[in-house]
């Protein structure tokens, strides 16, 4: 291409280090790969498909109403509940209610922080989602026979495993679609994208305009995702790949009709951000990534994920965040525990992982491995 460089075809003064870098990346980019496209993930959130028919038990009430339920269960008198309800409706201060619910956990009868002790908070048994559709993958191979399986609204595939959606899908902060982004995930990504190094995707193959085998690498960069002045992600920036083995992932896959999928479903590990969750870990990784004409990409990343880290990511927001963003955090603990569908604990039998699907958008970038010197210099 004259006058510009495609991210696949590096030239100029950086060509030599780039070539050397590719040698280091031997695992992720086959030596015979003729085309490589690289992306930085610019949007990452649970894939949701909320609609009017997916919560037969109703969408969860606002957090203030749940607080009144907790207060009642904790022994507050009906007259007190009504007084708080009135004050809440008037927008008045309810300090005594706040103190009660912000310590609504009970251990040996004593109030404890509900976010750090979610198991000590009573389960209000809020309903899970029971709709028909969800984005994702048939992780367990049961297909149409899977009693908990969804149908993917894009591919029509049956037996889609996405129990995280079933667990949280009726909570207000988690409802949304690919276009109308769920509040919690929008907030979460907003926190993450400017405070953690970017996540990179490298797709390599003989000719990405044709069907055939590919290699898919998912890595973490050293740099944060760079944005434009208007907040949109900036195309065509260059990122250094973090050599930390905890964030290096390579999968075999294929491209068909411009859609990249992973065919060998291993484990994915990407360092994330300790403020939300230290690590993203998925087993039985699945990917469906559509390469767009404008050089960007979008698609779905799925697998089984330990659900405790998901909980702790939410719990970090505390009482203020619960009111402003998430809704009933300990309630989500109980919901995820209820719907977890993988990795049973050998002692308790409780499932420690839950099937998930994340929706990702990615922009074209350049990426290359760093030298040892740069690695030493780089602040994490």
């Amino acid at each position: 291409m004259k006058g510009q460089q495609n991210p696949m075809s590096i030239s100029g003064a950086r060509a030599l280090p780039w070539v050397l870098g590719l040698a280091v990346l031997a695992l992720s980019v086959p030596a015979d790969s003729a085309e490589t496209r690289q992306f930085a993930i610019s949007w990452f959130a649970q894939a949701t498909y909320s609609n009017d028919k997916d919560c037969s038990g109703g969408v969860h009430p606002e957090i203030e109403l749940l607080y009144l339920r907790y207060a009642s269960a904790l022994g507050a008198k009906p007259s007190q509940i009504e007084d708080w309800r009135h004050k809440l409706m008037q927008g008045e201060n309810v300090q005594d209610l706040n103190e009660l619910v912000s310590n609504r956990g009970r251990i040996d009868g004593l109030p404890v922080n509900p976010y750090t002790h979610p198991a000590a908070v009573m389960d209000l048994n809020m309903p899970g989602l029971d709709g028909k559709y969800a984005f994702g993958f048939n992780l367990d191979g049961q297909g149409a026979e899977d009693p908990n399986g969804f149908e993917d609204p894009q591919t029509g595939e049956r037996g889609v495993d996405h129990q995280l959606y079933r667990a949280l899908g009726c909570a207000r902060a988690f409802r949304g679609s690919l276009e109308d982004r769920p509040t919690y995930w929008a907030w979460s990504w907003g926190q993450l994208k400017d405070s953690k190094p970017a996540w990179l995707i490298t797709v390599s193959g003989e000719d990405l305009s044709k069907d055939g085998p590919v290699t898919v690498a998912l890595d973490r960069a050293l740099e944060y995702l760079r944005s434009n002045a208007d907040g949109t992600p900036r195309f065509d920036m260059a990122y250094r790949i973090d050599p930390d083995p905890r964030s290096r992932n390579v999968f075999r896959g294929e491209i068909k009709d411009g859609v990249v999928t992973i065919t060998e479903h291993g484990t994915l590990r990407l360092l994330q951000n300790p403020l939300v969750a230290p690590e993203l870990e998925l087993s039985s990784v699945h990917l469906r990534l559509t390469l767009n004409p404008d050089r960007s990409a979008r698609g779905f990343l799925g697998g089984y994920q330990p659900w405790h880290p998901i909980y702790w990511g939410m719990a970090g927001v505390g009482f203020g965040g619960e009111q402003q963003v998430t809704g009933d955090i300990p309630g989500y603990y109980h919901l995820m525990k209820r719907y977890a569908d993988a990795d049973p604990d050998p002692v308790t039998g409780l499932n420690r992982a839950i099937s998930v699907t994340y929706y990702i958008e990615a922009i074209p970038v350049f990426a290359a491995p760093v030298t040892d010197t740069e690695r030493q210099l780089t602040r994490r």
Binding site: Q5, A13, A238
Partner: protein, 573 residues
């Protein structure tokens, strides 16, 4: 203006000197020699310091961490240069207030506890009492550098007295000094570059700049700042009036890293980079373009020019064709080339050398983001504005303003003339007789840059239609931007323009008819050097024409000058 006792500024006219202000005066028919023929020196001029020169001087004198604390009134571009406009501007009352405020801010910082020890040549007897001896030592030293000539005894006495009075009022020696220092920095002798003439003893009938003015002429041209102490000493010793002494100082100054500042200043002026201050792009249309990108783009072109002209001392015309440049990661995104950050995450982006492949149509400063974005409206590219800029900036040709009644909507609207591309719209627009003449000579230049959108990013299509980047410049046709760079490289007007502008910058005015032989000599020497810019700069500063001036005939200033020469010291209150 200066405060208190400093208001009574005394302008001393030396025994054989006269201050001649203004550029609209006629030359006497006296001549210098030239290989191309006789040269009649033009008039002397008085120039207001440009904003950049003001800043350079302050930083040279007091340190680069001094905050100016304000903005100077806008400079004026005349005949393509702010350096020429500097001899056409004065200072308004509001502007004087700004200078005064800045002078006070600078003086306060220069004499604060962090800077004073580096500047003061002595320790006052007491920090709260008058110490005239120490004040005199400081003010005479710094005053010489600020006024660019030794202070007269009367001037120095006035400043020492003012500092002493202020110290008595404030009980602070340093605040007292700061008052006098701010007075110097508000003085017309600092804010304006006056040229002081004296009869040339070597060439009866001719006038020359006095030694101090000669030093300023040299220093502002080569360094874009005031003379340093060594140069002033050379002026005081008479060294600058000898060819050997002048050459010694020129050698020293051209070997200095500060030469880069002088070359940068010229190209900032010549390329109209002051316009970056008001450059803005529609963020919705050009999301990658930001204030940082604009700053980087401006710096990229300057680094490219410095690399060709100074670092590698190459044929200056290579600035239109070179594949070598410099990048930051943010610029790399616009150019769509990988520019990896160096150093720790979160550290400032460093500049890195970069070279476009030979097959790439990018090459030369015309294809860089600075040029293509600066000469485009906020929401699109513009072959017309870019072509006009090439004509006016690179070739020194004047393109007339459009007719007052021109209907721009026929071009501004994307679907005008049912056309997809700017070329199609402009070709349709050029059928209007009153517009055709100019568009015919500027649009074909700009068409070559149509692969670069309004923010300078590469594109292959416009509104879905393929872009035709072919064009023509003064008989040379080309297929794309690379070809345009070659065409400018080969165009004799490009080097001629550079000599015209550089000589005008040195003089502070456009050359007169009587100086054309001098410029002709410069152009020949420039060609002989293989178009090396440092060689041309040396040729200019070693030329006596730069230090000669005519004296007006039959005008009041001339009569005053004549009287000054005849009667010895004339003091004007």
């Amino acid at each position: 203006m200066a405060q208190g006792g400093l208001r009574s500024r005394k302008l001393v006219w030396g025994a054989a000197a006269a201050v001649l202000v203004g550029c609209s005066i006629w030359a006497v028919a006296t001549m210098l020699g030239s290989s191309s023929g006789p040269i009649t020196p033009g008039p002397s001029v008085t120039r207001r310091l440009t904003a950049e020169q003001y800043q350079n001087i302050i930083h040279d004198l007091f340190g680069s961490d001094i905050d100016l604390g304000g903005r100077i009134e806008p400079d004026l571009r005349v005949n393509g240069l702010l350096a020429v406009g500097a001899s056409h501007v004065s200072i308004t009352a509001a502007g004087m207030e700004q200078y005064d405020a800045m002078a006070r801010a600078v003086a306060a910082q220069a004499l604060d506890e962090y800077h004073r020890d580096m500047l003061l040549p002595c320790q006052p007897v007491s920090a709260s009492d008058v110490d005239e001896e120490c004040a005199r030592a400081f003010l005479s030293k710094v005053g010489r550098l600020i006024y660019r000539r030794a202070l007269t005894e009367n001037q120095l006495e006035a400043y020492v007295t003012a500092a002493a009075e202020a110290t008595r009022l404030t009980h602070s020696f340093h605040e007292g000094l700061a008052l006098s220092l701010s007075g110097m920095l508000s003085s017309p002798s600092f804010l304006f570059r006056e040229e002081v003439l004296e009869p040339d003893p070597q060439q009866p009938g001719l006038y020359r700049l006095d030694a101090y003015s000669r030093a300023s002429q040299l220093s502002f041209f080569l360094w874009n700042s005031a003379p340093d102490s060594k140069l002033l000493s050379a002026a005081e010793s008479g060294e600058l009036h000898t060819r050997k002494g002048l050459a010694r100082q020129v050698d020293r100054m051209m070997a200095s890293p500060r030469l880069e500042a002088g070359i940068r200043a010229f190209f900032i002026d010549q390329l109209r980079f002051d316009e970056f201050e008001t450059l803005a792009k529609d963020a919705a249309l050009f999301p990658k373009f930001s204030a940082q990108v604009a700053e980087d783009a401006r710096e990229q072109t300057l680094r490219t020019v410095i690399d060709v002209a100074l670092t590698r001392n190459r044929d200056i015309r290579e600035i239109y064709t070179t594949k070598k440049t410099f990048m930051t990661p943010a610029l790399g995104a616009i150019y769509r080339v990988p520019v990896y950050k160096e150093g720790p995450n979160g550290s400032p982006d460093a500049w890195q050398p970069f070279e476009f492949p030979s097959s790439d149509s990018r090459g030369g400063i015309l294809t860089q983001v600075a040029f293509t974005s600066l000469h485009s409206p906020a929401g699109r590219g513009s072959p017309t504005l870019r072509g006009k800029a090439v004509r006016e900036i690179m070739l020194c040709q004047q393109v007339p303003a459009p007719p007052a009644d021109v209907d721009f909507s026929s071009f501004e609207e994307g679907d005008a003339h049912a056309a997809a591309t700017a070329r199609e719209r402009l070709n349709a627009h050029a059928t209007v007789a009153s517009c055709a003449g100019c568009h015919k000579i500027i649009d074909p230049i700009g068409f070559a840059l149509e692969h670069f959108d309004g923010a300078g990013e590469y594109r292959l299509t416009e509104a879905g239609a393929p872009i035709d980047a072919s064009g023509e410049l003064d008989g040379i046709t080309y297929e794309d931007a690379g070809g345009l760079g070659e065409a400018v490289y080969r165009n004799p007007a490009a080097t001629s323009c550079l000599v015209d502008r550089l000589s005008a910058r040195a003089l502070g005015r456009t050359v007169t008819a009587g100086e054309r032989n001098w410029v002709k000599d410069l152009k020949e020497a420039f060609a002989d050097s293989g178009y090396r810019l440092p060689a041309l700069m040396r040729e200019i500063v070693m030329s006596e024409t730069l230090y000669s001036a005519s004296v007006p005939v039959d005008e009041p200033a001339q009569q005053v000058a004549a009287a000054a020469v005849e009667s010895g010291v004339v003091e004007v209150q």
